[in-house]
């Protein structure tokens, strides 16, 4: 019977304190009855090898004990899908962009590499790891508390079909956004054309700005961009739904736009600056600072551009065919 005692002891370990004695006494009685019946059939005592299958059929100690325990969960089934959704959002829209940005800086920024030589570069990822653990911890804690509060019962019991969100057409392009895009493009174009591509010197409010020889390229590139945006806006106004054509055009224009901004950041367009009351040395230092600041911000521009393009590509991949009403 040593095997039975060992088995019962193992089951007892997992049982709730108040019920341990009662449950073990009952289970013990059942097992011993089974063994006695078998022994009376065979007319001899059972060996350990013969007792073993009886215990195995009964189940592992933890599985047997688990059936006596109340069903418990940190976050119940009513809130668990929302918990998962929040975790997914945190990862997709906060932690992943952060990581990608870090990766971009770690690969492309020589200054950053110099500050964190060798394996030390991984140490600069510490705040990200900390944010990961905090996000997981506080999300879990918040939902565990919500599950034990009145919110859960309100969510499950007091709902109304009318308060549910309206079904959103993912292919629809809001007219307000399209109108804004057209207005902005036309206004930019109008102001832009006043500047002109052939002047590189501008005076306003006591400030004289001289731009580099790259200015005409930028001028025409931005003019093309504004025209393309206005045309796409008109196309979207006539058919306010994303189609493969309009979604691909959007991606193309965004690629072009963010590529242009990235180029501007690195091109050092500002050649010189003259401000009333400012010495030429200080003006030159100011020009260097502005160009350096723009060059340093190129990495952020690239990160934002990549994010925009990610959503554009996702839109193309998720385009749903239009179901014609019959």
């Amino acid at each position: 019977m040593e095997l039975v005692d060992r088995y019962l002891h193992a089951v007892k370990f997992w049982l709730p304190r108040k019920q341990k004695h009662d449950i073990i006494a009952e289970l013990s009685e059942d097992l011993r009855s089974q063994i006695e019946e078998k022994e009376s059939e065979l007319g001899r005592k059972l060996s350990d090898a013969e007792v073993e299958p009886i215990l195995k059929r009964c189940g592992s100690p933890i599985a047997v004990a688990e059936r006596y325990l109340p069903q418990r969960s940190l976050i119940g089934p009513a809130l668990f899908p929302i918990y998962c959704m929040v975790l997914r959002w945190l990862f997709l829209y906060f932690l992943l962009p952060w990581f990608l940005l870090w990766l971009g800086i770690a690969i492309f920024s020589p200054d950053f590499q110099a500050d964190h030589p060798g394996i030390g570069i991984l140490g600069s990822l510490e705040p990200w790891w900390l944010a990961c653990t905090h996000a997981l911890f506080f999300d879990t804690l918040a939902f565990a508390l919500l599950d034990r509060s009145q919110v859960r019962s309100q969510l499950v019991n007091t709902w109304n079909p009318r308060s549910l969100p309206a079904v959103r057409d993912p292919n629809r392009i809001p007219r307000s956004g399209t109108l804004f895009e057209i207005t902005f493009s036309v206004a930019t174009l109008a102001l832009w054309l006043q500047l002109g591509a052939f002047h590189r010197t501008f005076h306003a409010l006591g400030v004289t700005v001289i731009l580099s020889s790259l200015w005409p390229y930028f001028f025409w590139a931005l003019t093309v961009l504004s025209l393309a945006s206005a045309c796409l806006g008109c196309l979207n106004l006539s058919n306010p739904r994303w189609t493969p054509l309009s979604a691909c055009l959007r991606l193309g224009i965004d690629c072009y736009c963010w590529g242009l901004v990235y180029w501007v950041c690195r091109a050092a367009l500002l050649q010189s600056l003259a401000v009333d009351g400012l010495s030429s040395d200080k003006a030159a230092a100011l020009v260097r600072s502005i160009n350096s600041l723009m060059a340093n911000s190129a990495i952020w521009v690239m990160a934002i551009g990549l994010l925009v393009m990610f959503f554009d590509v996702r839109r193309i991949l998720r385009l749903r065919p239009i179901v014609e009403a019959k």
Binding site: Q19, I23, L27, E29, D30, S33, C58, G59, Y68
Partner: protein
């Protein structure tokens, strides 16, 4: 071959689910006569409702907590055994459940 095993497995899962739903009714009906755990299991097995100890004892405990069964530790054959029988509430619930069971059976017969 593997598809056949998969179908068998799916059938087995559904069969167990179906039987699990009827176990409380079978246990309550069997406990119109007093039994202790082991003899109750044997009685149910003899009637084609075999149930393992890991399922039966937690179920008995749950039914007793709900006030449908009463239990008593008594010595029999020099061993302490816990005897169960239906309570007054249990008898009333069993009657209602049997009516419901017959109604379900009739409905299913009608659908078949």
């Amino acid at each position: 071959m593997s598809q056949s095993i998969e179908i068998d497995q799916r059938f087995e899962n559904l069969r167990q689910e179906l039987r699990r739903g009827s176990l409380p009714l079978a246990v309550l009906a069997a406990l119109r006569v007093e039994h202790y755990g082991y003899t109750l299991r044997k009685t149910l097995a003899e009637h084609g409702m075999a149930i393992d100890e890991g399922t039966l004892y937690p179920l008995l405990r749950r039914l007793e907590t709900q006030g449908l069964l009463v239990s008593q530790w008594r010595e029999e054959d020099k061993r302490n055994k816990r005897f169960y029988r239906l309570s007054a509430d249990g008898k009333s619930i069993l009657k209602q459940l049997l009516t419901e069971w017959k109604s379900i059976h009739a409905s299913l017969e009608d659908i078949f």
